[in-house]
Symmetry: C2
Subunit: 299 residues, 2 copies
């Protein structure tokens, strides 16, 4: 893809979006950005990006627009709001939502875009802030194969594992599968360490025994030590993970399947959020077990 | 340790016990064995082990006795039964229970042994049949440091990671921590793949996207593909895992802690056993989701 021929738009400059947009800029593309908090755009503008005043302005100038925002309601607003992308993008443009959002909303965007000759893909990611910074994200895409192929050179600037999972919404479904596996794994680590602590064992010594066998996981190796260090700073926010769990649960309900571990995880993370810990990292689930699992114990 | 000076006893020659006793024999020790099904002893006797007629006969001749049987009730019988080890072992002997069993029972054995000048350790393992065969088990020990040190050369013949976790029962507690972490991890994989299948995605392609990041685990990498291949043969039996989950739950109750994911896993595995799948491997939890989670759907 010839960087001189395309104007790229990037909406949403949180910790991840800022890194991802930065990679596009470094590759030589002209990049226009917009975000709800303009101060978050200062750094990337200093590096050469142009500011645009909202989604409509981005859509007017850019033939490939990436969105990386917080919640499905934000996505809805950016695509379908009064100055939204669907209304204002040119026929033939590509709109790529990299937010972790609802599969249903992804299909709605795809259909509305298609009706106006616009190509839409859902392409949520995993790998967190570190993956975004190092361009090692796993990008899970949903949409048409030819649109995916057309965007592959851009995805390659942001991610290491880039896979088309199926039609519109399939990227979001794959991301939900990721979040569901994490729910079990993370909760298992938390309960394991809670047990160990109650039994009076040294959890670090227990981790030596159990860390590399059938109980081993990314969560155990990475979040286990953080829990024991009392480090609850966000790698990934509780509030965002709770949003994802709710999307996954809604989606499971729509499909008519029962996922009790996912349901339980959602209720545990709801409780955690209710205790005012939404801005901690997901490993703060451990605190919930230390505080006590019942609502009344928090008062 | 000089192999000529010690007579080792080994009680229980299941898939794991047979491999473990074999390593002791290969190292040059005289080994006496007994097991409930004598035909299971034929192979190791052909390799040079001697047969003994029950625990009392083992205790009469051996100064270090290992037990590796099925259930806490079997352990109870072997140690405290009418011809049990406690009653018949000589003062100064070492009794090492490597069965995954109850921490409470381990402490009871320790105390009864100590009262007769006998040294007891709990030393359950993880690593399965492969770890037993290759002597790469993780051995989690509980008991006195000097007794552990005295047995270290023997443990080293059977395991790679050999760790004293604390006093009597601590080995069993560490093993419970292992089983609890597995419960979450395994259930998360099962729900993730169930979701993916319902959403119409190709689960093998999803595993490419989610296998190496924050959702990654031993369970995902090893049992995920088995589930998708329809391979439910036992690496580790459902019936034995259910036993472990129940010990962990009982133990958590005794300590007054609530572990809802563990509770949920126990009820899911109970349901699986009720459906007649106790002799399948733990990855058969996936079948429960395919069969439907409600009892009535099985009829």
């Amino acid at each position: 893809m010839d960087p001189s021929k395309h104007e790229l738009g990037f909406i949403g400059l949180g910790v991840m979006g800022a890194s991802m947009a930065g990679h596009l800029l470094e590759a030589g593309y002209r990049v226009r950005v917009t975000t709800r908090s303009p101060e978050k755009a200062q750094e990337i503008i200093a590096r050469g990006a142009a500011w645009a005043d909202g989604p409509a302005a981005i859509a007017a100038d850019c033939d490939r627009v990436f969105t990386m925002v917080g919640y499905p309601s934000d996505v809805e607003e950016i695509y379908f709001g009064p100055s939204g992308l669907i209304e204002n993008a040119a026929s033939g443009a590509y709109l790529i939502d990299m937010t972790t959002s609802s599969p249903l909303l992804a299909r709605k965007i795809y259909a509305a875009a298609a009706a106006r000759g616009i190509r839409a893909l859902d392409a949520p990611v995993s790998g967190g802030d570190v993956g975004a910074r190092n361009a090692t994200l796993s990008i899970m895409a949903g949409g048409d194969k030819d649109a995916f192929d057309a965007l592959a050179p851009l995805f390659a600037l942001m991610g290491k594992t880039v896979v088309l999972q199926g039609g519109a919404g399939a990227g979001q479904h794959a991301k939900m599968a990721n979040q569901i596996a994490i729910a079990g794994s993370l909760a298992g680590v938390v309960e394991s360490l809670s047990y160990v602590k109650s039994a009076g064992l040294d959890p670090r010594i227990v981790l030596q025994s159990i860390g590399s066998g059938a109980a081993g996981s990314w969560q155990l190796s990475n979040n286990g030590p953080r829990m024991l260090d009392g480090n609850f700073e966000p790698g990934f926010y509780v509030k965002h993970y709770l949003k994802d769990l709710r999307i996954a649960l809604d989606s499971a309900r729509e499909m008519g399947i029962e996922l009790p571990v996912l349901s339980l995880a959602e209720s545990l993370f709801s409780l955690l959020q209710d205790k005012g810990l939404g801005n901690k990292g997901t490993q703060a689930l451990y605190l919930l077990y230390e505080l006590g699992l019942h609502g009344q114990e928090s008062s």
